[in-house]
């Protein structure tokens, strides 16, 4: 299960991410480092699926105008 999730993220990173960037016309869109997808991979690996996913979701949601 863990492996499946992580390989889904791998596919996203390899293909979807550059397709999205091309459609929207941005080269660099991440303010956080590592990128959210990379972070999600690490988190899922380290903390398991549920906690990892929750932490990743919080992180994606924190990338917006109302937080610093």
């Amino acid at each position: 299960m863990k492996k499946i999730l992580i390989s889904i993220i791998d596919v996203y990173q390899a293909f979807m991410s550059s397709i999205l960037k091309n459609i929207l016309g941005v080269n660099k869109m991440c303010r956080l480092s590592p990128t959210c997808s990379e972070y999600a991979k690490i988190a899922i690996n380290k903390e398991g699926i549920l906690r990892g996913l929750r932490k990743s979701a919080i992180r994606i949601l924190s990338c917006q105008p109302f937080t610093n």
Partner: protein, 277 residues
């Protein structure tokens, strides 16, 4: 979920499309459906204009600070908290708007998708069901359709795919996907910043990270580095197998993007090529 999406995005967009169409056909403008698609795309692009602009500006600034970022990363290796702090300070110094984030990106995606699904649905309607289907969705009587529409645009059938027209229209129809790919390529090329000292350093960094990623498979890494070329080809292929009405949408979308990109960040990577000539 689908119903909700229809309610808040798809149906309103269909209404705008039909309203524009009715206005144009009331004024006896020929090829009203095609021009309505162009008009609709331009309106949506104007609505998203501030979002796209802030995102383009932030992206250009991010590009500038990348070398500093990697310096920070090296300096405080292992201390994630410190890296985060220093990064935030760097952003503040360079006036990177925290309002950029990825939220503008996330907002635009469903809109682009909705526009796609609206047009896919509208241009492929059979002539005898157009009136009934459209009027079911129209909110107001005054722009409801009286007759079915003419689904052609300067002789091109908006509901047909170039792949199917090959046998009747001949290879000339290939111009549709080719042009779509070319416009996409121009935009993608403009997105890459002109080569400066900064860009060169960044390329080195990218090379380093690519070596780390080698195990991700050769095709995947090729896709990332060559997306400038692969993506336009992919879009061209889509244009080949999707109804022409969608290519009309996508080309309007891209040309608007080219103009916006030019106004905000200039020619970018395209500049080198134009100067050479």
């Amino acid at each position: 979920m689908g119903d909700f999406f229809n309610l808040i995005l798809v149906h309103p967009i269909i209404n705008i499309l039909v309203a524009i169409y009715s206005m144009l056909s009331f004024a006896h403008i020929p090829y009203a459906l095609g021009f309505a698609i162009i008009g609709l795309t331009i309106i949506i692009r104007f609505v998203m204009y501030p979002l796209t602009t802030s995102q383009l500006k932030a992206s250009a600034k991010m590009q500038k600070v990348t070398p500093h970022l990697s310096k920070i990363k090296e300096k405080y290796k292992g201390d994630a908290k410190k890296i985060q702090e220093e990064t935030m300070r760097l952003y503040k110094e360079h006036g990177i708007n925290p309002a950029a984030g990825c939220l503008p990106v996330l907002i635009q995606m469903p809109i682009i998708w909705a526009l796609y699904s609206v047009l896919q649905r509208m241009v492929t309607l059979k002539p005898d069901v157009v009136v009934a289907e459209v009027n079911k969705i129209a909110y107001f009587d005054f722009y409801k359709l009286q007759n079915t529409w003419d689904p052609s645009f300067f002789g091109l059938p908006l509901g047909e795919m170039p792949s199917k027209l090959m046998s009747t229209a001949g290879p000339l129809i290939l111009l549709v996907p080719i042009l779509t790919g070319v416009f996409q390529f121009i935009l993608s090329k403009m997105m890459i910043p002109a080569k400066t000292g900064v860009a060169v350093i960044e390329k080195d960094i990218e090379k380093k990270t690519q070596i780390d990623k080698k195990d991700a498979g050769d095709f995947a890494s090729a896709f990332q580095t060559q997306s400038l070329f692969i993506f336009p080809v992919m879009i061209g292929f889509f244009a080949f197998s999707f109804p022409i009405g969608l290519s009309l949408y996508w080309n309007t979308f891209t040309i608007f993007g080219i103009i916006q990109q030019y106004k905000i960040t200039g020619l970018g990577g395209l500049g080198e090529w134009i100067k050479k000539k």
